[in-house]
Amino acid sequence: MSMLPSSRNLVLMVAVLGLAGCASSSTWGWYVINPATDTGWTNIRFLINGMGATILISVIAALMSMSFGLIVALPGLSSRWYIRAINRVYVEFIRAIPLLPMLFWVFYGLPIIFKSMGLDIPIDPFWGAIITLAVSDSAFTAEIYRAGIQSIARGQTEAAQTVGLNYLQTMRYVILPQAIRRILPPLANQFIYIVKMSAFASVIGMQELTRRANELVVTEYRPLEIYSLLILEYLVLVLVISAAVRWLERRMGSDERN
């Protein structure tokens, strides 16, 4: 990474302060991630290099979940019960499956189904994790969309229809632009949730933050320090997302005056 020199200094400062506080205690063994030593610095880089995979998995899964959630939400708004039922069955079913079993099912089970259908679609840890996170989360985003869209007054849809807009145009130009401001905060929550749940990808061998921490713990026997740093890594990620979302909300709020 090109930003290494400066970030190394930053980490160094934090680490020195931390070490100073704990140096006397034998409980801590910060040497394992001490950036001042070569081994420590190598270990830190090994851990932080998982960040790319965690971010990539989370972002792709979140984007898929957001688009898939919308597709699932729309039938839930129908006035016909059998169309609404599509939404209800999907949401209730997917929402009930714990993430880890679903991950196992997708990674180990789905290829068998594909094979029996004569399809040769391998599922690697990367896509296995993304598909699971996206599908699992889409049940929640679908509910967020549905609530957000239903919070827009019925009169808006009616007015759009009387000026000749069809269903998709009504959604695209009238309902969603108004609903998005109400949908964004809970959607950001879901994104943070995905980032955290992406840790499960470590179980199927994806080399992301948690997996790397586990591997280092196995060789260094220093779980306390390594998992502390791991938690710190997630904290930084989530804080960055929070700040970005707050900025986005402010920007959107400023052009709405009614």
């Binding site: 009169g155 229809q161 000026v163 009238v174």
Partner: protein, 266 residues
């Protein structure tokens, strides 16, 4: 048009030419034995109504009498369960957009799009549904904003306008679709009293230009001025119809007399 009533001279003058010549005028809206239920509640009972092209019909009646529902059935915001509704000669479907903006609608609560400027409110339908270019749509929008006398508000958001201005924007938004019929569902009921007349003035002008209009309203002075046909509804039925002169001076039914005395007494 109820020909059995005796229209006065002023009304004959504003009738469409076809009708004056003794030929049946073209029918804009026709409702034949229309029935509708909300669950067990029978909101519309055997509604029969004909509106000729160029005719102004005013529907009045106590609240809950089904007058809004009649209007909402015409432009498919509500579905009826029995009977036939024809608009411009063809039977309506369940899809409101099939009317393609041919039936304009003005709502009690304006229902402007709050996230769009006044101009964007006006050009959305013509561009997306009628396929006009932005320039054509904006020209047309400017023309109708002029007609409703608020050209200077084009770049404001609806939330920055007064109720009367918002309702005039809503009228302009409907007119931008160049509809064959305009429906008004209590257009002045949500307005402060001092703003009612600016909206009614626009509607009177529209009527004088020959627009086919169906208006649900409690503004009886306005009704007397523009209506060709008065319709009184109560408990889901059309109780009485007639030309305004006869309707207001000598209502036939007891229910209609009672209603008129209640709203005209002060």
């Amino acid at each position: 048009m109820n020909l059995s009533a005796f229209p006065d001279k002023a009304q004959v003058d504003i009738w469409p030419i076809g009708q004056c010549g003794g030929v049946m005028a073209e029918i804009a809206i026709e409702m034949i034995d229309v029935n509708k239920w909300f669950g067990d509640f029978h909101v519309l009972k055997d509604i029969n109504l004909k509106v000729s092209l160029g005719e102004r019909v005013v529907i009045c009646g106590p609240s809950g009498s089904g007058k809004s529902t009649v209007v909402r059935c015409i432009n498919r915001l509500e579905r009826h369960q029995k009977g036939v509704i024809k608009v411009n000669g063809s039977e309506v479907t369940d899809q409101p957009e099939d009317l393609g903006g041919d039936v304009g609608m003005v709502f009690q609560q304006f229902n402007l799009f709050p996230h769009l400027s006044v101009l964007e409110n006006l050009v959305l339908g013509p561009m997306k549904s009628r396929g006009l270019s932005r320039i054509e749509a904006e020209d047309r929008a400017a023309e109708y904003l002029e007609r409703v006398k608020i050209p200077e508000q084009a770049d404001k958001r609806p939330g920055q306008l007064s109720g009367g201005q918002q309702q005039r924007v809503a009228i302009a938004r409907s007119l931008c679709m160049e509809p064959k019929v305009m429906l008004f569902d209590e257009p002045t009921s949500a307005l402060d009293p001092e703003m009612i007349s600016e909206v009614l003035d626009v509607m009177v002008e529209l009527a004088e230009e020959g627009m086919t209009m169906v208006v649900v309203t409690h503004e009886m002075g306005f009704a007397r001025k523009i209506a060709d046909q008065m319709v009184f509804m109560d408990e889901g039925e059309i109780v009485e119809t007639g030309a305004p002169a006869a309707f207001f001076e000598a209502p036939k039914s007891k229910r209609c007399r009672k209603f008129l005395s209640q709203i005209l007494s002060h």
